[in-house]
């Protein structure tokens, strides 16, 4: 695999809930090591798009190829591919009945066949990287929002994924905690992690993204590097959107 190969390929992706057509044919490719930020007004389908990438939402049409395999094929064992796609949620979704360490070791022990000692060593290393090593034995309810989200990120990283999906990771945080989570994500990008990030943090998009995608009304309206995306937007809807948020 060379550094520039395609990790996720999306072809004519469609998703409807009953009569409501949320995604109306999305086409894009995400390359290994790329950081793609997805923005759009609320209700535009950007979260749905992200959630179809690991089939948390099952597409009603189109194809998603992950590492060359069509994961929308019912014969594909999606559990195996999800191990390679970490996901971070707006609401953190830590397991409240487990300590931080247990949150992080459950899946590696059950799915990667790691021993408890191995899994805990990896988990502590990751926690150390995000400055939470001393909270390993805490329960999620004892953590602040920013800490919870950092744990959620390293919980996904403990599976050693090939791509990380972020679904509005800072939207549920108090303003003073947004920075600590974005810092972790920036560090991750610097290490070369492939990331797809749905966010409202325009600063993050400008600074970190390789490409910014604007989704509205269920289709990709603009797809450009951040300098061009913010400096010289072509799409009218994007122009009006940016004028509202910037």
């Amino acid at each position: 695999m060379n550094a520039n190969d395609t990790i996720i390929k999306v072809l004519d992706l469609k998703k409807s809930f009953g009569d409501i057509h949320v995604l109306k044919g999305i086409n894009t490719e995400i390359k290994r090591g790329e950081v793609v930020v997805v923005i759009g007004p609320s209700g535009s389908g950007k979260s749905t798009f992200l959630r179809t990438l690991n089939l948390l939402e099952e597409p009603t049409g189109g194809i998603i190829e992950f590492e060359g395999i069509d994961i929308t094929d019912p014969k594909t064992n999606i559990n195996l591919h999800r191990q390679k796609m970490g996901m971070v949620f707006q609401q953190f979704n830590l397991f409240p009945h487990m300590t931080v360490l247990k949150n992080m070791t459950l899946a590696p022990i059950k799915l990667l066949g790691k021993t408890k000692t191995e899994a805990e060593a990896t988990a502590l290393e990751l926690l150390d990287k995000v400055g939470l090593k001393d909270r390993a034995d805490a329960y999620p309810s004892q953590l602040s929002g920013g800490q919870k989200q950092r744990v959620a990120i390293v919980r996904a990283l403990a599976m050693n994924p090939d791509v990380m999906l972020f679904d509005e990771p800072t939207s549920a945080l108090d303003p003073e905690m947004v920075g600590e989570v974005l810092d972790v994500m920036k560090g991750l990008a610097k290490e070369g992690m492939t990331m797809v990030v749905v966010t409202h943090e325009m600063g993050f998009a400008k600074e970190v993204a390789d490409r910014v995608i604007f989704i509205d009304e269920g289709i990709i309206m603009e797809d450009a590097p951040p300098a061009e995306f913010f400096g010289n937007p072509k799409n009218e809807r994007l122009k009006s959107f940016l004028s509202k948020v910037l």
Partner: protein, 258 residues
């Protein structure tokens, strides 16, 4: 067997009792007959053993059955696509079970199990029959409790588990069920108390639980007052103790989360 009379008893009883008014003498006599004479308190303790055994056995069975049904029904209801055939069959079967068990009296279920289906011959067989019948009955009620418990867990928990690559079963077992159990514990405690009281019905299949034993004492003394009032007090004390214990357990569980 000779029947003890008040006059006979007063001769052997302490003298100070004879100085009491007649109604009080009578009360003491009945207490003596119910608990002391011929070691009759053992009737109650023997009966309580059966009562506890049946309650605990039926509770365990009921929780297992209830959880299985709840999982089948929530899996069926949550599946976005048309569920596969086996699941639809299981769901259909569970619905029949719930309808039948909740639609017929416990007493009738005991009579049918005891005299039509299982027909136990030995003492142990009767205990098993009692446990199975009450367990099956309780399972129907636990199923609804467990279902509400499973549905009370935020969908984000399932999504987080699935997004890590855990299967539906693993996610249920490690993530959803442990949290659901914590949520349903109060309701499950109520079910246990109901079950304890319902065990009084097993006397219809000749199981010698504490209710049956109280009846046995009445049939010996021809005095219903003290045995039955005592029986009620025994149940009441056990229920009060259980309620207190459940409260402590609940508080403990909540603490582990903080």
């Amino acid at each position: 067997m000779e029947v003890l009379t008040l006059e006979n008893w007063l001769q052997s009883a302490p003298e100070w009792i004879a100085s009491f008014p007649e109604w009080l003498q009578n009360l003491f006599f009945q207490l003596y007959q119910t608990f002391v004479y011929q070691d009759r308190w053992k009737f109650f303790t023997d009966g309580l053993k059966i009562t506890f055994l049946v309650t605990i056995g039926a509770l365990i069975l009921g929780v297992i059955i209830g959880l299985i049904i709840a999982i089948i029904r929530t899996t069926h209801d949550n599946s976005k696509k048309k569920p596969f055939f086996l699941l639809r069959f299981l769901n259909w079967f569970c619905n029949i079970y719930l309808t039948v068990i909740r639609g017929t009296p416990m007493m009738v279920q005991l009579l049918i199990m005891g005299f039509v289906i299982m027909v136990p011959k030995s003492d142990a067989g009767m205990v098993v029959c009692g446990i199975v019948t009450l367990g099956i009955n309780s399972g129907a009620y636990v199923a609804e409790i467990a279902r509400s418990g499973l549905m009370s867990i935020n969908i984000g928990q399932t999504e987080a588990g699935r997004s890590l690559g855990l299967s539906y079963g693993q996610t249920m077992w490690h993530i959803v069920i442990p949290q659901a159990i914590k949520n349903i514990l109060p309701a499950l405690g109520n079910e246990m108390i109901t079950l304890l009281k319902d065990t009084s019905l097993v006397s219809v299949i000749a199981l010698r639980d504490v209710t049956k034993q109280a009846q046995n004492i009445v049939s010996k003394t021809y005095q219903a007052y003290i045995p039955y009032i005592s029986l009620a007090i025994i149940y009441l004390i056990i229920v009060i103790i259980l309620t207190k214990l459940l409260g402590i357990l609940e508080r403990r569980l909540r603490k582990s989360e903080r």
